[in-house]
Amino acid sequence: MIVGLDMGGTNIDGVIIEDGNIINTIKKPTNRDDLFGSIWSTLKELLTGYDKTKIDRINLSTTVSTNAIVENKTSSVGMIIQSGPGIANDFLACGDENVFISGYVDHRGNVIEGLNLSEVKNAVKLFKKKNIDSFAVVTKFSTRNPENEIRIKEILENFSPITMGHTVSGKLSFPRRVYTSYLNSAVHSTFNDFAANIKKSMEIEGINALIFILKADGGTMNMNTAEEKPVETILSGPAASFMGITAMLPTDKDAILLDVGGTTTDIFFLADGVPLFEPLGIKIGKYNTLVRAIYSVSIGLGGDSSINIKNGKVKIGPKREGKPYAFGGPQPTPTDAMITLELIGYDHDYKKKAHESMSLLGKELNLSAEDMAKLVLETMGNMIKYKIDKLLEKINSQPVYTIKELLYGKKLEPKLINIIGGPAEVLTPILKDKFNLPCYYPENYHVANAVGAALARPTAEITMHVDTSKKTLSVPELEIYEKVDRNYSLNFAKERALRLIKESAISIGETKDEIDAEIIEENSFNMVRGFYTTGKDIRVKAQIKPGLIHQLGGDNNA
């Protein structure tokens, strides 16, 4: 048995899946003041009547870290930042105290100017005086050479947590590394308290299952990893929906995935069945991060969005003013339009109110209630189409760096649309018409996100850099920095990367023998100094892409 729980801003959804079939579901409101309590009571109710010893794993998508950041309830963090020459660094001061230290590592990982230990010691004094005990230390190009970060951590030994920049990602972006490291330390105690509560309660209940936490990239990690890198738990909600759509409507084509809710519509894309990712990482609040995430765009358009007429045009959203008019809300909504057209069935009284709202709206445009309702749904379709066309244009013009990619690179050309959410069934024929593409929706859409969480598997990405003239190999994500031979080749690097990423998947909880690892980027540059080749600069990225523990049984599909 697998249990999936997805904690959203308003609801917690849960499912139990056994042998690919959904055997129980639950939906409960989220109590924002007691997130752990909400989860625990939902879980208990979900499991009532089921044999707890048969639970293999519990997959959890939680907003604990996200909420702490969004609501500014994080720990104070002392930042030690070594920025060296470059862009003026004042915009990086994201901590509660920020100490900028001298010293510099260049783009090849050479230490140009060493640490000034007295600066570090003064920073420690300052943090102590201010009663700060969470830290992050980040140096420019630390992915290439982390020795300054490691030394500073040694000096700070008595404090915890300390996030070192190079451990959060192997990608180059110093500002993002600073913000990500900051956030990791800032949510550390919030998440670890939550984790401790969960573990304690499970023990009391006698549940002896593996616990996995969902990440924004559609994968999972085990609790130990999450405790160390809680920043990876942020914004996993859209990933849960995404995985749910993938589980219910599998495809290996280019596709548009939509989750239409009450307030918003989330948009995702698949390229040959593989999710599109954020190029560098997800943004949370004002912070750009290096947290790997599925590319998702949310627009303020849903079943409960309020409708206005402006300058003779129908305007839907981006706000939700309340419930649909039919249910006593203040404003007409797309849901009212659907009820009016009998696309969703409701009692006479509700229908009357919905009709009334459409007819009021229609008056301004000289339309009958029915024609107004049709126009509303058409407009909704047009808005989705317009947005997606814009996104596709942007996606298809993302920077490329080789002639081959520029001339022959893959362009995303969706062949179908998969849609979930309340209005999914009603929107299906409209979108089919607007996009001229087949459009599908599943039966069990209301628990799609919990199903997505339940079936998600561990994911990982690593960035390998080999410099054979310096004879170094590095994989920052795994804290690997070692010496290699001058003859190290791209093929060695690729093999090694695949091996390492499989090991890494196992370390974060993958159990399957067959791990589907792949190389997603590979480059080897001849390094020439003067007229001689002095070595090779090899760059390899490997990933384990999001996948399902197993497919859902046939009767769960549309």
């Binding site: 862009i87 050479n110 013009s397 490329v400 760096y401």
Partner: protein
């Protein structure tokens, strides 16, 4: 998050899969460390900085500027069409008001490519900026443009292409041709009869540093630009004046390049040469980008930067001052000089020998410029090389009067078959003929 004062478009296309040859300076690795530096600095996240992919220029774009011998296909590769396309895209984005400024970081460079193209010179086959400019003029009308070439080498190709065009002011400052490839770029190379005085060379002594370059900018370049008042200013941004460059002898710095771009305030920059790929390019390009975006560049410098050590000698300061005085006084007196140097001639001949260093080809050519009262006049090139080609090329300029257009076509028809190739560039009708 940082926000740029000027919306800046970047066409960053390092062509990681293209090299002239594996150990050639123009190889895959050239912009690798620049990319690392720019990405690590977080350029992608600066609000107002936007990245664009190049478009691919077409043959017609090349034929507007060059006579490729025997034809475009034989001389030009995809990489050149993309490099030029990158520059075109960068300027289009400005003219369509998508950005305020743009920087095309594309390769290979182009400023050594002349009108006639037999092969590769100074790592250049086609002139990226010229191809861009003539395509843009075709699309957006006849802009008045100033190109300021800050590469260490004389921009001899760009000079050749706009030699007779007073709507394209060309200013090049470079290490003195007597001490560096390609050898040209003296003060008295002043333009053809149709654009006399609009080709300005400022040869500088080896060892010139920040003070010298900025002195040239403040005392010659800026005053001339103020008087010329162009629609568009382009920085032909070679980066080989840098003190670490392996093939030149100047003392310029990343901080200096940034300051120069801040003061010059160009609409657009196009990368040219610069082969100190580890020690200079990452910092110089960062500096130029920040300066163009209107962001603080005061903290940009090389790891081993030492302002005092790189300061130019007093002799150089004095010498540079004299060069500047001479160049500026010639600009002020260009009409008088025209009368003195060209008199009432009806045709001006220009005889040259051009060496293609990369491909080892020697070319001899005679250009002939007609002096026309109504337009800048048709001109011809009679060129032969040591590989057996002997071509005749006719250009009808953009502003040609009717009788010059007719004369050009007549000349093309009547040119005998004794030449291996005959070409006609009719810029009035945007047509190209070859026989």
């Amino acid at each position: 998050m940082l926000k740029a004062k000027n919306r800046l478009g970047l066409v960053f296309f390092p062509a990681f899969d293209w090299a002239i040859s594996p150990t050639h300076p123009e190889r895959e690795e050239r912009l690798l460390y620049t990319r690392d530096q720019l990405f690590e600095e977080g350029i992608e996240d600066i609000e107002g900085v936007e990245f664009f992919n190049p478009i691919v220029a077409d043959e017609k774009d090349i034929e507007r500027v060059h006579f490729c011998v025997p034809d475009v296909k034989s001389r030009v590769t995809q990489s050149h069409l993309i490099s030029a396309g990158g520059a075109i895209k960068a300027l289009q984005m400005i003219l369509e008001n998508k950005v305020d400024k743009s920087f095309a970081l594309t390769r290979p460079p182009g400023h050594h490519a002349h009108r006639v193209v037999y092969g590769d010179r100074g790592f250049c086959i086609i002139n990226i900026e010229a191809v861009m400019l003539e395509r843009i003029r075709q699309e957006y009308g006849n802009l008045r443009v100033a190109i300021v070439d800050t590469d260490c080498h004389h921009g001899d190709g760009t000079q050749d292409i706009f030699w007779n065009d007073k709507d394209t002011l060309f200013i090049s400052f470079h290490q003195d041709g007597r001490t560096l490839y390609p050898g040209t770029g003296s003060i008295d190379e002043f333009g053809g009869p149709g654009g006399y005085g609009y080709n300005i060379n400022i040869p500088l002594p080896p060892g010139t540093g920040e003070d010298g370059f900025l002195y040239v900018l403040d005392n010659v370049v800026m005053p001339i630009l103020d008087e010329y008042n162009p629609d568009i200013i382009i920085n032909s941004a070679g980066q080989d004046n840098h003190y670490t460059d392996p093939i030149t002898h100047m003392n310029f710095t990343a901080q200096g390049y940034a300051e120069l771009n801040y003061r010059l305030n160009p609409h657009m920059a196009v990368l040219e040469g610069g082969y100190s790929i580890e020690g200079a390019l990452p910092y110089v390009n960062l500096g130029i980008i920040l300066a163009m975006a209107g962001l603080d560049y005061s903290n940009v410098h090389e790891p081993d930067y030492n302002k005092e050590k790189l300061r130019q000698s007093r002799d150089i300061t004095e010498y540079v001052k004299k060069v500047c005085e001479l160049v500026y006084s010639r600009w002020k007196n260009k009409d008088g000089l025209r009368l003195k140097d060209l008199g009432n001639a009806t045709h001006i001949d220009r005889q040259r020998q051009i060496y293609y260093d990369t491909d080892g080809i020697l070319e001899n050519q005679v250009q002939n410029f007609k002096v026309c009262k109504k337009c800048s006049g048709i001109n011809t090139i009679d060129s032969r090389n040591d590989k057996g080609y002997h071509i005749f090329a006719i250009t009808i300029p953009r502003d040609a009067c009717n009788s010059c257009v007719d004369e050009g076509h007549r000349l093309y028809k009547n040119t005998p078959n004794s030449f291996t190739n005959v070409y006609l560039q009719d810029r009035v009708n945007d047509e190209f003929y070859a026989k």
